[in-house]
Amino acid sequence: MSSALEVEGLTVAVKGKKVLRDINFTLEEGIFLGIVGPNGGGKTTLIRTILGLLKPASGSVRVFGQRPGSTLAQSGILGYLPQHQNIDPNFPATALDIVLMGRYRAAGFLKWPGKKDREKALQCLTIMGAEELRNRQYSQMSGGQQQRVSIARALAADPRMLVLDEPSTGIDVVGQEDFYHLLKGLQKKMNLTILMVSHDIGSVTSYVDEISCLNISLHYHGNPLGALDEKVMTSLYGKSVDLLVHSDVCDKCERLRQH
């Protein structure tokens, strides 16, 4: 197995402020990685740097042995699912239109996606269990359905690595479990490397192969069960695991009790 991702001494600054500091880890191909940590901990910054949208202040990133800038210029490497709320929920397009967007690059300059691209798009919708949605308007789908269509779009470009930023936002808890299950299936079936950002450490640990706990620096990388360690949790959230789940409420209870 070759390395899908090598991150070495990575420091990233946004507007002069260090958002990531000295990050080091390697990821083998075909691994499902969960990236967790508090808000403002640099999760999105890390994936934006891996995608080539941000430049490191120092250190390096290699995606399948290449610099992120050069992966942007090639097709068939990256599939990306941006944060759901960035997309206009009333965007005028059918599910098939959205998935075909994933074929734009393969179709080439000045050419519209052709019959083969349509077949590929339908195939990706089928993989995601969403073929019956193909003529449905994007605006009339549930959050979960929109997310399936978006993943079908990302898959349509035949990526080796799928990068998802908070994909479970807007999906109910039951839907989330199904969704993670689906990703797990894709990983196995297509030997995909998956990078998934999530703020929900509790639910991702049972699906991912490895986990990165990020709060400006990398506090833990490895087996997901190892992340549920009190020391790791404290470094991420500043409180113990018990408090993490209900932290706000407990804080208030505690204060009320003292008065």
Partner: protein
């Protein structure tokens, strides 16, 4: 009716109107979806500064306005990207300063007359053969460029970051779009006038949004709504001797509000 079509100045107006409505129809779709209507309004008012520079220096006001508006559009893009000042604020500054510059130059120049009125509110009678040549020379290549990069603009409109990851040079495309926007504003000035030109950039797209099921159909409806408004508006303007810009915008607004209210009741 036939008499209208046989008069040479109306023929020119219709030809210019159709060229303009096709380009603004495409631009309007993206203006509406990308929520850029303030950029459109800002650049169109800023164009007044360019027209006034033309008056003052004796250059062709439309050519001066094209150059000036493109510079303003690039200025808005540059300040928006550098951060610190929001794009919203930079548009507010650019357009008011341009209008102030325009008013100052018009006051200083000796040609303060009906001509200016025509630029502000549109004047079909003022359309010269040179204007038609300019409109064609500018609108045909710009429309072609927008159509060539339609796929890229669809993806950018859907999500900019995703477009970047898909290998599209988003910044270059955005600059091209702003230049197209500035150009389409200036070539619309003869017919609609500076004051109302922004309406052509918003209303056709908004009307199309009521009907469209996809982006291509939205562009089609937007161009159709724009072309119908321009043609019908010019007829009304000729018949009742009312400023063409007002007639065109009121027609456009009617075909927006009627289906919108029917949709609400349905």
């Amino acid at each position: 009716m036939i008499e209208v079509l046989s008069s040479p100045f109306m023929q020119k107006a219709f030809l210019a109107g159709l060229l303009v409505s096709l380009l603004t129809g495409i631009i309007s779709t993206f203006i509406v979806l990308r929520k850029m209507s303030f950029v459109g309004a800002g650049i169109s008012h800023a164009a007044f500064g360019g027209v006034a520079i033309g008056f003052f220096t004796g250059a062709d006001p439309l050519i001066a306005a094209i150059i000036y508006s493109v510079i303003i559009a690039l200025g808005i893009e540059a300040t928006g990207r550098r951060g610190g000042i929001s794009e919203d604020v930079s548009i507010g500054i650019f357009y008011s300063v341009s209008m102030a510059l325009g008013i100052a130059l018009v006051s200083l120049s000796k040609t303060y007359n009906v001509d200016l009125f025509g630029y502000l509110f549109g004047n079909i009678l003022a359309i010269t053969d040179a204007d038609i040549v300019l409109t064609m020379a500018v609108s045909v290549p710009v429309t072609a460029l927008m159509l060539i990069f339609l796929k890229e603009y669809f993806l950018i409109t859907y999500d900019e970051e995703l477009a970047k990851v898909s290998g599209i040079r988003v910044r270059a495309m955005n600059i091209l779009f702003l230049v197209a926007l500035a150009v389409s504003i200036v070539i619309s000035i003869r017919i609609v006038g500076i004051i109302l030109v922004a309406a052509l950039l918003v209303i056709p797209g908004a009307t199309a949004r009521l009907f469209a099921k996809g982006l291509l159909s939205m562009i089609f409806f937007s161009c159709a709504a724009g072309a119908f408004s321009v043609i019908a508006g010019l007829f009304v303007s000729y018949r009742y001797d009312v400023a063409p810009g007002a007639c065109i915008v009121l027609t456009a607004a009617t075909i927006f509000f009627v289906p919108l209210s029917l949709k609400k009741w349905a």
